[in-house]
C-alpha cells in the first residue's frame, strides 16, 4: 500500500505555519508539503499543487472553501483518481493524517473531514 502524500495549500504563510505546528507537536518530520498562494496567478498555483500531489495517492488540504487555493486544486484535480481535496484544514485534521497515511485515500479523506469537524466547537 502506498503512503498517501499530504499537501497543504493556504493563503500567505498559513500552510507552512500549520505544518510547523504539526511537526512541533508530533516531534517528527511530517512529510507534508506547504504551498502558498502568495505572488502567483491561478495557473502558477495550479501547477504548484499538481506537481506536489501527483502522482497520487494524495490528499490536498485547503485552508478555505471557495478561496483561490480551492479553485486551483479543483480545476486540475477534482476528477483525478487517487487524489482527494479536503477544505477547512485544521491542526487536528493534519495530526490525524500523519499517523494514518497508509490507508485508502477515499476512506481517509472522509475520516479526516469528520476529525476536522469535531475539532470545531463552541462553549
Amino acid at each position: 500500500m502506498n503512503t498517501i502524500k499530504g499537501v497543504v495549500v493556504g493563503h500567505g504563510g498559513l500552510a507552512a505555519a500549520l505544518i510547523g505546528a504539526v511537526e512541533q507537536i508530533s516531534g517528527a518530520g511530517s512529510g507534508l508539503v506547504a504551498i502558498s498562494n502568495t505572488d502567483c496567478d491561478r495557473g502558477t498555483l495550479e501547477e504548484r499543487i499538481l506537481a506536489a500531489a501527483t502522482p497520487g495517492p494524495a490528499i490536498v488540504f485547503i485552508d478555505m472553501p471557495s478561496g483561490s487555493c480551492h479553485f486551483a486544486a479543483m480545476r486540475r484535480m477534482q476528477a483525478m483518481p487517487g487524489v482527494r481535496i479536503v477544505t477547512g484544514v485544521n491542526l487536528a485534521m493534519l495530526l490525524e493524517f500523519i499517523f494514518r497515511r497508509e490507508g485508502e485515500v477515499d476512506e481517509l479523506a472522509d475520516h479526516l473531514v469528520q476529525v476536522g469537524a469535531r475539532a470545531v466547537m463552541a462553549h
Binding site: 505572488d39 502567483c40 496567478d41 491561478r42 502558477t44 471557495s66 478561496g67 483561490s68 480551492h70 479553485f71
Partner: protein, 159 residues
C-alpha cells in the same frame, strides 16, 4: 442606482471583494462576467458559497453582460461587476462607455511576461497598451485593492 464598482481581479470573488468592497459599498448583488465560469457549474457553486446569503450573484458571459449592462446599472440595489481580465472589461467599456466609466484594477497577479507595477498589479506590454487605450477613450483607470488603500491613477501606475 448605478453599479458602484467595475473591478478587474483574476481571483474574481474572494474576501477582499466580498468584505473589503462589498460591505462599505453595501453591495447587494455581484455580476461575475467570465466566459469560462459561465460554462462551469462547479465553479459557480463554489463562488456562490463565497458570497453572503444577503448578496446575490449573477454569472454572465461577456456577450450576455453587454446585453444586460444597462439593466443591471438601473437596479435599485447597489452592485459590483467583476471580470478576471482586462480584455473582458474592455469589451464592456467599449459597449457602454457611459456606464463603465471607472475601472478598478484590484488583482492582476504575476505570470510570465508580466512586470510588477504594484504588489497586486503585474502588467505585460499589451496590458499597458490596452489600459492606455481605455484611458484615451474616456475610462478612468484606478489601481486599488481595498477601499482603505491609496488609489493609484494610471499615469502613476505606469510611470
Amino acid at each position: 442606482m448605478p453599479l458602484r464598482l467595475f473591478r478587474v481581479d483574476d481571483r474574481l470573488v474572494h474576501g477582499q471583494v466580498v468584505l473589503g468592497w462589498g460591505r462599505p459599498l453595501a453591495a447587494r448583488f455581484i455580476v461575475l462576467v467570465d466566459d469560462a465560469v459561465r460554462q462551469s457549474a462547479w465553479e459557480q457553486d463554489l463562488y456562490r458559497m463565497a458570497v453572503p446569503d444577503d448578496v446575490s450573484i449573477i454569472f454572465a458571459s461577456a456577450a450576455e453582460a453587454v446585453s444586460h449592462l444597462a439593466e443591471w446599472n438601473a437596479d435599485p440595489r447597489p452592485g459590483m461587476l467583476l471580470t478576471a481580465d482586462l480584455a473582458t472589461m474592455a469589451v464592456l467599456h467599449d459597449a457602454a462607455p457611459g456606464v463603465v466609466r471607472e475601472i478598478n484594477l484590484g488583482g492582476l497577479h504575476h505570470r510570465p511576461g508580466r512586470a510588477e507595477r504594484l504588489r497586486y498589479v503585474y502588467l505585460a506590454a499589451p496590458d499597458e497598451a490596452l489600459l492606455r487605450r481605455l484611458a484615451h477613450d474616456g475610462a478612468r483607470i484606478v489601481a486599488q485593492d481595498l477601499p482603505t488603500a491609496a488609489a493609484i491613477d494610471l499615469e502613476t501606475l505606469l510611470r
